[in-house]
């Protein structure tokens, strides 16, 4: 059963089988979900008050969280990319933590900081800002879990910017701010877009930190994932339709990302220094 070796790459059977099993683990649940969705109910379900409120709130909060991720995360990614040695490594670890942390833990941590018996929360309460059980709290929970995806994406891109270009700009007399705006930022723009899309998708899917920190109330804090979870209690059909909506939206993001991802993250120039990459 030996094949003539015509190419250096052969595919041993066992890893291929494992790969197929692995793919099945990922594909079968989503495919089964889509099969079970009562499509004929889709229109009435999606136009029900619960679904409409959840969809509107999800779009509002996730877009806000993604925008804030860009405003705060791009500078953070840039700062990390300029750091060296232990400080940068620690900074990167801190930023990565929310990615590996269970989101529920994130919610508990947010309560510990911004709950009304926590120092920061009490101070905010004093000036009339209440985060738990509010839409702002939903955004904060989403920001906490989503921004790291943007930061790591953007940081990798900042590191890939050819130093000769920034040096050339500096030599030509451009100040630090001008170099950043005219040379560095345009170079990382695709990565910012990719990171923003990733952060938005993560914010859209946020569940654990949200329900722990912001609770669940239709129209105020009940996002689509929460509506799916609670809809499943009473009306599995509704939950399935809303789940399908999330699958479709997430797929759309992935399709858009496919075009953006490669130029944003893969080094097109200076191939060697592929460091500071995503979790992998």
């Amino acid at each position: 059963m030996t094949r003539p070796v015509t190419r250096p790459v052969t595919r041993p059977v066992v890893p291929v089988v494992l790969a197929v099993v692995g793919a099945a683990v990922l594909v079968v649940p989503v495919a089964s979900l889509l099969v079970r969705v009562p499509w004929s109910d889709a229109v009435p379900v999606l136009s029900s008050p619960v679904a409409r409120d959840a969809l509107a709130l999800s779009l509002l909060t996730s877009v806000t969280a993604a925008a804030l991720s860009v405003v705060l995360g791009v500078p953070l990614g840039w700062l990390l990319s300029t750091g060296r040695g232990r400080v940068a490594a620690v900074g990167r670890a801190v930023v990565l933590l929310p990615i590996v942390l269970p989101p529920v833990v994130g919610g508990v941590a947010l309560l510990a900081a911004f709950g009304r018996n926590a120092p920061v929360g009490r101070a905010l309460d004093g000036v009339g800002v209440v985060l738990p059980f509010s839409a702002a709290g939903v955004v904060l929970a989403q920001l906490f879990v989503a921004m790291p995806f943007l930061v790591v994406t953007v940081e990798a891109a900042f590191r890939e910017v050819d130093p000769r270009r920034t040096e050339a700009a500096t030599t030509l007399g451009a100040g630090g701010w001008r170099v950043l705006a005219r040379v560095t930022l345009p170079a990382v723009a695709p990565a910012v877009l990719a990171g923003a899309a990733l952060a938005w998708a993560r914010a859209l899917g946020e569940f654990g930190a949200t329900i722990t920190f912001a609770g669940n109330l239709q129209g105020r804090t009940q996002t689509l994932p929460l509506a799916v979870y609670l809809g499943a209690q009473t009306d599995p059909g509704t939950a399935l339709v809303m789940s399908a909506l999330l699958v479709v939206v997430s797929l759309a993001v992935l399709v858009v990302l496919r075009g953006r991802w490669l130029p944003g993250v893969e080094p097109l120039r200076a191939p060697a220094r592929a460091r500071g990459r995503r979790t992998g």
């Binding site: 890893p15 494992l18 309560l111 018996n117 609770g215 499943a232 209690q233 009306d235």
Partner: protein, 253 residues
């Protein structure tokens, strides 16, 4: 250069895949032989209404001491959620449901359900009652942070009945997925008041206190327990039957 990198990375990821796979296969193998050779280690999954998790945990501990090799795993959640999991073929051996609805929903997988405990609803407040909650009507007071369970969840349905009978339209800040997460938010002092089961609130003392509903509530909750047939219709295990008996002695007494 990048080609070399990629090859190294690919080889490394295959190694990782093999490592994970061999761990999984290894674990399965140990498990399988353990069962087949008559090792006495076995697991009983108890699906329990979140509000009754604490006392049922004690039943589990006692039963484990009586029956060597038995490990009881609790699955505490809203009874409605548990009923759906069981109907979808979850391997639970015992189901403890708040109210008869979820128990009825799993049909003939439940063998001979019986009442194992009874409870009623109270207003649960953090220690010291920071919101000065006195009556059920306080649930509609502006500025107070109020929580109850979501509709469709037993604790949410009972709470709606109680508050409706009192003629109060509450201004609610959160509708929690089960009684356990609702209690957690009172315990964390993020809510000023929540509608919860009395036994559960008493078990959370001194962090959480009871305020009697005023007007008094006549909403009564009966917990039902049943040993479950397997998803394939097989009879309940001895462990499941023993758990039901033990719980009957411990919880109702």
């Amino acid at each position: 250069m990048s080609g070399v990198r990629r090859t190294v990375t690919a080889r490394r990821s295959w190694c990782a895949a093999f490592l994970v796979a061999s761990l999984v296969i290894g674990a399965c193998g140990v498990d399988g032989t353990g069962g087949a050779t008559g090792d006495r280690r076995r697991t009983l999954v108890v699906a329990v209404a979140a509000s009754l998790a604490a006392p049922v945990e004690r039943v589990a501990t006692r039963l484990e001491a009586e029956r060597p090799g038995l490990e009881v795993q609790l699955n505490p959640a809203a009874s409605s959620t548990l009923a759906r999991q069981i109907a979808e073929g979850s391997p639970a051996g015992v189901f403890i449901s708040a109210g008869p609805g979820p128990m009825a929903a799993i049909g003939d997988r439940a063998v001979d359900p019986r009442v194992v405990a009874a409870d009623d609803l109270v207003l649960a407040v953090p220690a010291g009652n920071p919101g000065s909650v006195r009556t059920t009507a306080d649930l509609s007071r502006p500025g107070l942070r109020v929580g109850w369970c979501a509709p469709g969840v037993p604790c949410g349905e009972y709470a709606r009945t109680m508050v409706g009978q009192a003629g109060v339209a509450p201004s609610v800040d959160t509708e929690e997925p089960d009684a356990g997460s609702l209690l957690a938010k009172v315990r964390a002092r993020e809510l000023d008041v929540a509608v919860l089961y009395r036994a559960q609130v008493l078990a959370a003392a001194p962090d959480v206190e009871v305020v009697e509903p005023d007007p008094p509530s006549d909403v009564r909750v009966e917990y039902l327990i049943a040993a479950l047939r397997g998803p394939d219709g097989s009879a309940p295990t001895d462990d499941a039957v023993a758990f039901v008996d033990r719980a009957g002695d411990d919880l109702s007494g």
